[in-house]
Amino acid sequence: MPEWKSEILRRLASLNLAPAREVEIADELAQHLEDRYQELLSRGETPESAERAALDELRGEDLLARSLRPVERSFYREPIAPGRATGNFFSDVPQDIRYAFRILRKTPVITAIALLSLALGVGANTAIFSLIDAVMLRMLPVQNPEQLALIKFRSPASAHLRQSATNPIWEQVRDHQDAFSGVFAWSPETFDLAHGGEVNNIHGIYASGSYFTTLGVRPATGRLMAASDDVRNCAGVAVLSYGFWQERYAGAQSAIGSTIRLNGHSFPIVGVAEGSFFGTEIGVPLDVAIPICAEGILDGKNSMLDDRSSWWLEMMGRLKTGMTVEQADARMKVISPQLFGAVVPQDWPAKYQDVFRKYTFAILNGDTGTGGIYGLREQYTRPLEILMFVVGLVLLIACANIASLLLARSAARQKEIAVRLSLGASRGRLIRQVLTESVVLSSAGAILGILVARWGSSLMVRYVSTQQSQVFLDLQMDGRVLGFTIGIAVLCGLLFGILPALRGTRVDAMSAMKEGQAQAAGGRSHSSAVRWIVGVQVALSLVLLIGTGLFISTFANLMTLDAGFDPNNVLMAETNIHNAQIPDAARASLYGQMLAKLQAIPGVVSASQCWVTPLSGRQWDNSVTVPGRPLPAGVEPDTFLNWVTEGYFETMRTPLLEGRTFEARDSATSMPVVIVNQLLARRYFGSQSPIGEHLLVGSGGTLTLRMLRQPMEIIGVVQNSKYSSLDEDFMPEAYFPLSQIQQNVAENTAFEIRTAMTPGALIPALRDAMGSVNNLASLQFTTLRQEAGDTVAQEHLLAVLSGFFGGLALLLTAIGLYGVMAYVVTLRTHEIGIRLALGAQRSSILLLVMRDAAIVLVVGIAAGLLGSIWITRLVKGLLFGLTPNDPVTMGLAIAAMATVALAATYIPAQRAIRVDPMIALRYE
């Protein structure tokens, strides 16, 4: 049979076609000529003439080439050898990206694992960062927030800034300052929408008439407050926030002109603030604003408007154009003596009055001023920093994971890379190609991460919100968050791409193409790099695990510690009888009736009343002295006080250690008595019994008690209990009986009800019982367990989140280890096959493979341990009941790490010993 193909190829040569295309054309044409030849032969022609006739079809030497040229030239472009320099940087980018997509699609499992790791890593980082952004970085959404400055003041004796001002001080500033184009003051307050019965609290502020105008907030509808709304003896107006208007009034225009009832008093609604405005306090929701003067309406004779020692207002000013904070500060300091001199508290001792006259204003800006007031910032800066660090580590681990996966894949791609290098690709160009793949991967991960973050950050806000203090944060994705995400995505792409890119492209083209030992050698150098990465991962994960362990133990310690009372099955009913307008003298008997009703409810084991609910954050303290027993120098005489009813210690299950508790015989006419806690007893009496001894409570404070003027007999000692928060130290405490208090009985108190069943089930019965005594008393129910949980919300957040991230890190590390071991086993299949063929025991093969992993593990754990010893010092302040180097936590973390790591290596190792020597050898 004649050689058609060579005839055709000769004629095609001048076209310089791509080899594949050339072969294809030659195949097809040769087939045609063969068909023709066979046909001619079957007609009886001689082979020679048939061959001539067939070749005649090609019509001379150059016709074929000439007629194909115009067709083929534009048809088949030269295939691009990716990596070949084309001289134009930007024109290559789309090609690189296309190629990257193709490569990523080719290895769907690796791509999926990488994307998942990235989505979680980037998502966690973005979520935490958006919280940091909202809490710490963002400015108030008002006109020119950089012009705003906080107006504070300090006493000459102390470096500390006073938090809040009295209304007289504010009025002085308002009327006499000349450093600001406008000043305003406000005070956060919760208002009760209900009039008696269970409370329906909303978040409001008392705002000066200049509040909205100075901030530059516009009304969404109606009008905002004006200076004329905030004058003494005003009738009061209310301005709603946009969110509240939408939520409660469905954005109805008819809301304007209607009234809103706050703490039992109706205020006309004059307008709604624009949607972007959420108040001057970050993290605190704002529902309604009423003028400062309205405090006089709501608080009546207890009004703080003229009180020179009620500190309740925050002040802010807008700097005059061209005025710097320093100039304003200097200006305010000049007028300080005049302003403070005018409002000296007359009831203070002369010594303190002199100090007051020397108060000076201090103007603050920067992140302290322009972003508003930050209770939240102070509380959450440290935890957020820690979480940022934690999620940063998680991201690093995820990157390490992806790097080792890509590195393993780049070993598999060695031949491809070698081919490209030999086709003229430059190494730099190839590195760029591989890096493009990583960046494409990380960008896709970032997009998924943003979705994860949106969900994650709102979840976190819900976590830090407690019943007492709801947290409201504007979590809009702003440019900064987006920039941050893009930044870490690109950084990640480079981070996990650079090693595979450098390693993967360092290929000796010749030897790589000659499979066999060359690949094994390349693989070995790869696997050593991968081992490094996994070692780092193990170290980082261990640091995280130890941190996680510390935070979880801290939270567990707090939740299980002996708080001095039993918080289970105790319902708290916080009660305010202000609306009922009960005269001072009649309050104690009203409380008595309420308590009797409560105790009669079936299911109530015991009930009592107190003024300072434990863990509520309320505080009443004063100095205590015991005649003849001076305190050692340096010990503060400050003691935390409370008044309680008879059954208080039984209800709270606070053990009585000595003496007796309050009884019916402790009446207004009997000898004043007091019960102290262990700490106070030990402080004054050492190991002696304090029963029968007397103590004196120093004068002052907002409550004046008859008995505060005279010595009180100590009748009992109770166990220490937590006063305002679970994570504080025990304080010296003293308890008085309500029955001996005659004046200034508080309107807001709390009833404790120990129940035999789930506390919540009793709420309706309790509400009815209280309402039957006085239906104007407002009530708020919570459980003591809930209150206890709220005081450790921060620890809870850290425990939950670090637990989640610690687990995530462990999982990522396990995936990494598994992938690497599986890869190493695959590389060594041949070797293992030979060993088995030569009679090696399977157990020794298992050891061989596991030893590899064990070395990585041991080195990683050692490094992680050192790292964590160094790093956990920084979180010392956030721990409770254990030291940063808690050996138990460290031991458990190491055990968890080792278990997971060994499990992750065991599976591939098992596969190694199941290698069939025959197959492994034939594999060659």
Binding site: R36, L64, F75
Partner: protein, 98 residues
């Protein structure tokens, strides 16, 4: 148009196409390899036809060409044009002969 109509009913390979053209035209129209295949490739590049290697039992691998959807539309338009042209010519020649 000739090629398109030949593969309208079913896919055919190059040799088959050239034989059919030769047979149906009674030897009047003949394509050589050097002209047929460049033409096929050109049609393929335009997206009117599509070639595919097919291996049938007991036969060697051949490239079969089939009409694409686009090609089908082109063929219909061409046939319409051709018929109009032929009709026009006929009308002219009939008038002359009458």
């Amino acid at each position: 148009m000739l090629i398109l109509s030949l593969i309208e009913a079913r896919p055919r390979h190059g040799y088959e196409i050239s034989k059919l053209i030769e047979q149906r035209s009674g030897g009047a129209v003949r394509f050589h390899v050097a002209s047929l295949y460049p033409l096929l490739y050109r049609l393929e590049r335009r997206g009117w036809i599509q070639g595919r290697w097919v291996e049938k039992n007991g036969q060697r691998r051949r490239r079969y060409y089939r009409l694409t959807r686009h090609g089908r539309r082109v063929l219909a338009a061409q046939l319409r044009g051709w018929r109009e042209f032929v009709a026009g010519i006929n009308r002219i020649t009939e008038v002359e002969n009458a």
